[in-house]
C-alpha cells in the first residue's frame, strides 16, 4: 500500500465529478458500497451530515467490505472500523489509526443538488485532505 495521504489536492476546478447516488440513499452513520467506473467505493454519511468516500477494500483481509464497518469517532476524527477484524481508519485521511502503514484511498466527494458525486480521476492517489 503506497499512498500519499497528505499530498496536496488539485484545485477544485480541475476535478471531474461523477454522480454516484442520491444523498438520501445514504443512511446516517452507515456506509454504502458503490461501483464507480469499475472501482469499489465505500461512501459514508456521518452523524453531522458530512459525506466521505474511501476505497471499499479492507487492506488487512483483502475483502471488499469497508462500507459495512461501524462508523464513529476517535477523538475528533471521524472513523470507520473494518468489519472483519476491526482495525480503525480515518475517514478524512484514509490512514489506519491502529497501523499507520495501512491506508485506504480517499476520494474527493461533494453533494450537489442532493446528489453525491465523487472525483474518481484522482482516485487512490490523492487524499481529500
Amino acid at each position: 500500500m503506497t499512498l500519499a495521504p497528505h499530498a496536496p489536492a488539485p484545485p477544485a476546478a480541475a476535478r471531474t465529478w461523477t454522480r454516484v447516488c442520491a444523498y438520501a440513499d445514504l443512511l446516517p452513520e452507515r456506509g454504502a458500497a458503490a461501483l464507480v467506473l469499475g472501482r469499489q467505493i465505500a461512501l459514508f454519511r456521518t452523524f453531522d451530515g458530512e459525506v466521505f468516500a474511501v476505497g471499499n477494500r479492507d487492506p488487512f483481509s483483502g475483502a471488499y467490505v469497508m462500507s459495512r464497518g461501524i462508523v464513529g469517532s476517535r477523538g475528533a476524527e471521524p472513523v470507520v472500523a473494518a468489519p472483519m477484524h476491526k482495525q480503525v481508519f480515518s475517514l478524512v485521511t484514509g490512514v489506519c489509526l491502529d497501523d499507520p502503514m495501512a491506508a485506504l484511498p480517499v476520494y474527493p466527494v461533494r453533494v450537489a443538488g442532493g446528489v453525491v458525486e465523487i472525483d474518481i480521476a484522482t482516485a487512490g492517489e490523492v487524499s481529500a485532505a
Binding site: 461501483l35 475483502a63 464513529g72 472483519m84
Partner: protein
C-alpha cells in the same frame, strides 16, 4: 435487683434478651397484654400468608427470666411505693420499671368506626381473616407503609380493595409527591384502587363514605391512619410526656423518674418517636446495659426504610429535603429517584427511590458525607458506578442490619485473607440479614483487589452493567440520546454494538429499526455471519436439533439453488455458506416460507439448546430432553445478551448433550432436572456448576429466566456466563435469583415475560419491510451487479472462497 417490664413486644424481648445474655443476676418480671409470647411484628403480614397456625412469628424463648405474665395488663404505677398493679389484680414491686408498651393504632373518631379493624397484633389479623370469609370488598384507611401492607393483605384474602389516603399522595412520610405518583402506578397495577387527597366521612353497614361523597362498598374496613405511643400509664403517674405523646427519656432511656425507663415505640427520645424496629432494638440494648452499669447512649437512629412493598421497591434514607435535589423520573418504567444534597451540592443529605432501589445500598452509608461523584452519576450507582466501595470512609456503616463498617470489611480482606462475599459474611456477619448490602460488599471486595478500569471505551466512562442501568432507569431508547447525555464523541465498534444489544435486551424492537441499525456490527446489520471473502452464512434455527425430513429437504434445495456450501455445525444445526448480501433476502424468503426462523448465529444472543435423544427413544433416558430443549430454545430465542448464550439438555447423567459445557446446562434426574450454569467450551473451557437440583419444569424455567436476566443486566461486554459466574460467585447468584435477596426477582421475571411476549422473527420482519430491505444490495448505484471480487472454486463437490487480489489502477 428486681426489674419489671410493662409490655412484651419486640423492644421488651430485646431488653430481656440483652439483660440475660449479659449475666443479669436479679429477677425479671415481664407483663404482656397479648395472650402470647413476643413475636416479630415486622413480619406480621406473613401471618395471613398461610392457613391459620402455619406461620410462627414467635421470638426465641429467653432463658433465665424470672416470670412472664401473658394476657395481663399493667393498669397503674405507684411511683412512691415502687410497684405496679395489673388488670388481673397483681401487685408487682420493682426496683427498676421498664415501659415497653409500644404504640396503638389511631382510630379516627368517625361515625361507624366501631366496626372497623386495626392492623397491629396477631389477634387483629385473626379477626380480619374471620371477617373476610365470604366477604368481597375491603377498604383500608391510610395509604402509608402499613396501610399499603394491610391493603395487600386484604387483596390476598380475596377482597376487592380500596386505599384511602388523606394526604395528596401515597406514603407521604417516605416519598415526595413525584415518588408518590410513580408509586401509585405500581399500586394500581396490583389491582388496588387508590383515593388520595380525600378524608373519611363515615362508615356505614356495607360501605365507606368519603368526605367528597364518594361511596365505596366495604365489607371489611381497616384503619391504618397512624399510631399513637401508649403513654397512658406514664401520664397517669405524672411522668413527663411529649406534647404529641411519647414518654420523654434521656440518652440512657431514663424517664423523668430515675427508677423508670421507657424503650421502643412508646418512648420520646431526642424529641422523636421511632416507628421502626431497629431503633427500638437499640433503645432496648441501651436500657439493659445502663441497668447493668455500662455507659452507653442512644443518640438517634437511621430511619432509612427499604421495603419490598407488594412487590414494589420503595426506599428512602437520610433527610427527605434539602437545598438542592436531583430527580429522575420514568413514569412508563415506574421508576422515580431523587437525591437531596446540601446547597453547595457537596454533601449528600438523603434520597428516595421508587421502583428501583439499587442506589439505596450504595448511597445510604454516604449520607452526611461529601459526594464522590456528581449527583446524577450517584443516582445510577447500580453495581457501583460512582463508588467502587473504596470510596467509603472506614467508619461508614455498610451493613446496617449488623452494624458493620467499611473498615471492618477491609480488615477481613487484609488481615484474614477473605476473598469473596461468602467469606465477608462469615467473618463480619455483614450481609447475613436482609442482604441489601451484598452488592456493596462485592464492590468493596473489588476495591480491595485489582481495580480495572470499567470504562467501556473512549466514548463512555461507564461499564456495560452501568450503562444497562442508565438505559433501563432513564428509559433511554436511542444511542444518540445516551451518548449526548452520558458519553462523548460519536461512538465506535465497541460501544455501538453494546448499546444496540442493551436496547434490544430491553425490548427495543427490531435490531434494524431506525437509528439502531447504524449501531450494529456487520453480522447483526445483515442478520448473517460475515465470512473471509465478504460473503455471509445462513443459519436457520433448528430448535433442539430436531428437524423433519421436509425441512431438511428445504434446506437442501435452498443450498442447491443458491449454490451454497453446507455443513452440520457443532450446535446441532446446518450452516449454509457463501451467500452474497443481495442473495440473503431471497434465501430467507424461501426459508421463512418453509417455516424457518433466524438462528441468531450472528447475534450476541441465544444460539442453540442442544439435546440428546432422551427418554422418548433412549433406553437410559429419564426425562424428555428433546422436548425440554425445544421449549427452552423457543423461550429464549432472540434474547440479546452481553455475549452469546448456549445451552443443552441431557436426558440422563450419561450427558450425551454435553450440557455441562454450556452457559446453562440441564441434566435430567429421576425427580426432575439439575441446572448447571457457567459452562464454556471455547477459549477457556469450564465445566458448569450445579446451581439447583431436582427442579420441576416450572421451577427450572423460572430459575433460568432469572439467571439469564440477571446476567444480561450485570455482565460486562463480551463476558460469557463462565467468567461472570466466577466473578460474582455461585452463592451470591443463588441468593439473588433463588432467595431473592435483592428483591429483584419479580422484576427479572417480568423482564423475561416481556421478552417472550415481544419475540418476533427478525428475518421475517426484515423481508416484509421494504425499508429494511434497502440495505441488501451489492452496490447503492448498481443494486443488481454482484460483487465482482467474490469468486469460488470447488472442493469436495462444494464451493470454497478464493480471495482474488484485484489490482487498483
Amino acid at each position: 435487683m428486681k426489674i419489671v417490664v410493662a409490655g412484651y413486644g419486640p423492644a421488651a424481648h430485646r431488653f430481656a434478651d440483652t439483660l440475660t445474655g449479659r449475666g443479669f443476676a436479679g429477677t425479671l418480671t415481664v407483663i404482656g397484654e397479648e395472650p402470647r409470647h413476643a413475636y416479630d411484628r415486622v413480619a406480621l403480614t406473613s401471618h395471613l400468608s398461610g392457613p391459620p397456625g402455619t406461620v410462627d412469628l414467635t421470638y426465641p424463648e429467653i432463658t433465665g427470666i424470672g416470670a412472664i405474665r401473658l394476657g395481663d395488663r399493667v393498669t397503674a404505677i405507684d411511683r412512691a411505693g415502687r410497684a405496679v398493679t395489673t388488670a388481673a389484680g397483681h401487685r408487682e414491686p420493682y426496683d427498676v420499671l421498664v415501659l415497653a408498651t409500644g404504640s396503638a393504632p389511631f382510630v379516627p373518631p368517625v361515625p361507624g368506626a366501631g366496626r372497623a379493624f386495626v392492623y397491629r397484633t396477631i389477634d387483629d389479623l385473626d379477626a380480619i381473616r374471620a371477617a373476610s370469609a365470604g366477604a368481597t370488598s375491603g377498604v383500608v384507611i391510610g395509604g402509608g407503609l402499613l396501610g399499603l401492607e394491610a391493603a395487600d393483605a386484604l387483596r390476598g384474602l380475596g377482597l376487592a380493595t380500596h386505599v384511602v389516603e388523606m394526604a395528596g399522595w401515597l406514603m407521604p412520610r417516605q416519598v415526595d409527591e413525584g415518588g408518590g405518583a410513580v408509586l401509585r402506578g405500581h399500586i394500581e397495577r396490583l389491582g388496588l384502587t387508590v383515593h388520595t387527597g380525600v378524608g373519611l366521612d363515615r362508615i356505614e353497614d356495607d360501605r365507606v363514605v368519603l368526605a367528597d361523597g364518594t361511596e365505596i362498598p366495604a365489607d371489611v374496613v381497616v384503619f391504618s391512619a397512624g399510631v399513637r405511643p401508649r403513654d397512658e400509664l406514664a401520664r397517669e403517674c405524672g411522668l413527663a410526656v411529649g406534647p404529641r405523646g411519647g414518654v420523654v427519656v434521656d440518652e440512657g432511656m431514663r424517664t423523668s423518674d430515675p427508677a423508670i425507663y421507657a424503650i421502643g415505640e412508646c418512648a420520646l427520645a431526642g424529641g422523636a418517636v421511632y416507628g421502626l424496629v431497629a431503633p427500638c432494638f437499640t433503645m432496648a440494648e441501651v436500657a439493659a446495659r445502663r441497668v447493668l452499669g455500662e455507659d452507653v447512649a442512644f443518640t438517634g437512629a437511621d430511619t432509612s426504610t427499604k421495603l419490598k412493598l407488594l412487590g414494589v421497591d420503595v426506599a428512602s434514607f437520610g433527610r427527605l429535603s434539602g437545598a438542592l435535589d436531583v430527580t429522575y423520573m420514568d413514569p412508563v418504567g415506574g421508576v422515580y429517584k431523587k437525591l437531596f444534597v446540601s446547597d453547595d451540592a457537596r454533601t449528600l443529605l438523603g434520597g428516595i427511590c421508587v421502583g428501583d432501589a439499587t442506589p439505596y445500598t450504595m448511597l445510604r452509608p454516604l449520607v452526611g458525607r461529601e459526594l464522590t461523584a456528581s449527583p446524577s452519576d450517584l443516582l445510577f450507582a447500580g453495581a457501583g458506578a460512582a463508588m467502587t466501595g473504596a470510596d467509603f470512609p472506614d467508619d461508614a456503616q455498610v451493613c446496617s442490619c449488623n452494624n458493620v463498617t467499611r473498615g471492618e470489611i477491609g480488615k477481613a480482606v487484609s488481615d484474614l485473607g477473605v476473598t469473596d462475599v461468602a467469606g465477608v459474611k462469615k467473618c463480619t456477619r455483614a450481609g447475613t440479614s436482609c442482604g441489601s448490602c451484598v452488592p456493596t460488599l462485592a464492590a468493596i471486595l473489588a476495591a480491595e483487589g485489582v481495580t480495572l478500569s470499567k470504562a467501556l471505551c473512549e466514548h463512555f466512562d461507564h461499564s456495560r452493567p452501568e450503562l444497562f442501568d442508565i438505559v433501563r432507569v432513564r428509559g433511554i431508547t436511542t444511542f444518540s440520546q445516551l451518548i449526548a447525555e452520558h458519553g462523548r464523541g460519536r461512538g465506535c465498534d465497541i460501544c455501538k454494538p453494546v448499546i444496540a444489544s442493551i436496547l434490544a435486551s430491553l425490548g427495543g424492537g427490531h435490531v434494524l429499526e431506525g437509528e439502531q441499525a447504524a449501531l450494529q456490527d456487520t453480522n447483526d446489520h445483515f442478520l448473517a455471519n460475515i465470512q473471509k471473502n465478504g460473503t455471509y452464512s445462513v443459519v436457520p434455527r433448528i430448535p433442539g436439533g430436531e428437524i423433519t425430513p421436509e425441512k431438511l429437504i428445504v434446506i437442501g434445495e435452498v443450498a442447491r439453488d443458491f449454490g451454497l456450501y453446507t455443513k452440520i455445525t457443532g450446535g446441532q444445526r446446518i450452516d449454509l455458506f457463501g451467500a452474497r448480501v443481495e442473495q440473503l433476502p431471497k434465501i430467507w424468503r424461501r426459508l421463512v416460507d418453509a417455516g424457518f426462523e433466524s438462528g441468531h448465529a450472528y447475534g450476541k444472543a441465544l444460539r442453540t439448546v442442544k439435546s440428546c435423544v432422551g427418554s422418548t427413544w433412549c433406553r437410559y433416558g429419564v426425562q424428555d430432553s428433546v422436548g425440554m430443549a425445544i421449549a427452552l430454545e423457543l423461550r429464549y430465542r432472540g434474547l440479546r445478551s452481553p455475549h452469546k448464550i448456549k445451552s443443552a439438555v441431557s436426558g440422563c447423567a450419561r450427558e450425551c448433550a454435553e450440557a455441562r459445557s454450556k452457559d446453562f446446562g440441564i441434566i435430567a434426574t429421576d425427580n426432575g432436572w439439575n441446572l448447571y450454569v457457567g459452562g464454556n467450551g471455547g477459549f477457556k473451557p469450564r465445566h458448569a456448576d450445579l446451581l439447583a437440583s431436582d427442579l420441576s419444569d416450572e421451577a427450572l424455567v423460572r430459575t433460568i429466566d432469572r439467571f439469564l436476566m440477571f446476567y444480561i443486566r450485570t455482565a460486562d461486554r463480551l463476558q460469557r456466563t463462565a467468567a461472570w459466574v466466577e466473578g460474582i460467585g455461585l452463592d451470591y447468584l443463588r441468593e439473588v435469583i433463588i432467595d431473592d435477596s435483592l428483591g429483584i426477582c419479580a422484576d427479572l421475571d417480568e423482564a423475561m415475560a416481556r421478552h417472550v411476549e415481544g419475540y418476533f422473527d427478525e428475518w421475517r420482519a426484515t423481508i416484509d419491510d421494504p425499508d429494511k430491505m434497502r440495505r441488501f444490495v451489492s452496490f447503492v448505484n448498481a443494486p443488481d451487479v454482484p460483487d465482482p471480487s467474490i469468486v469460488f472454486e470447488t472442493e469436495r463437490d462444494q464451493i470454497k472462497p478464493v480471495l482474488v487480489e484485484v489490482s487498483r489502477s
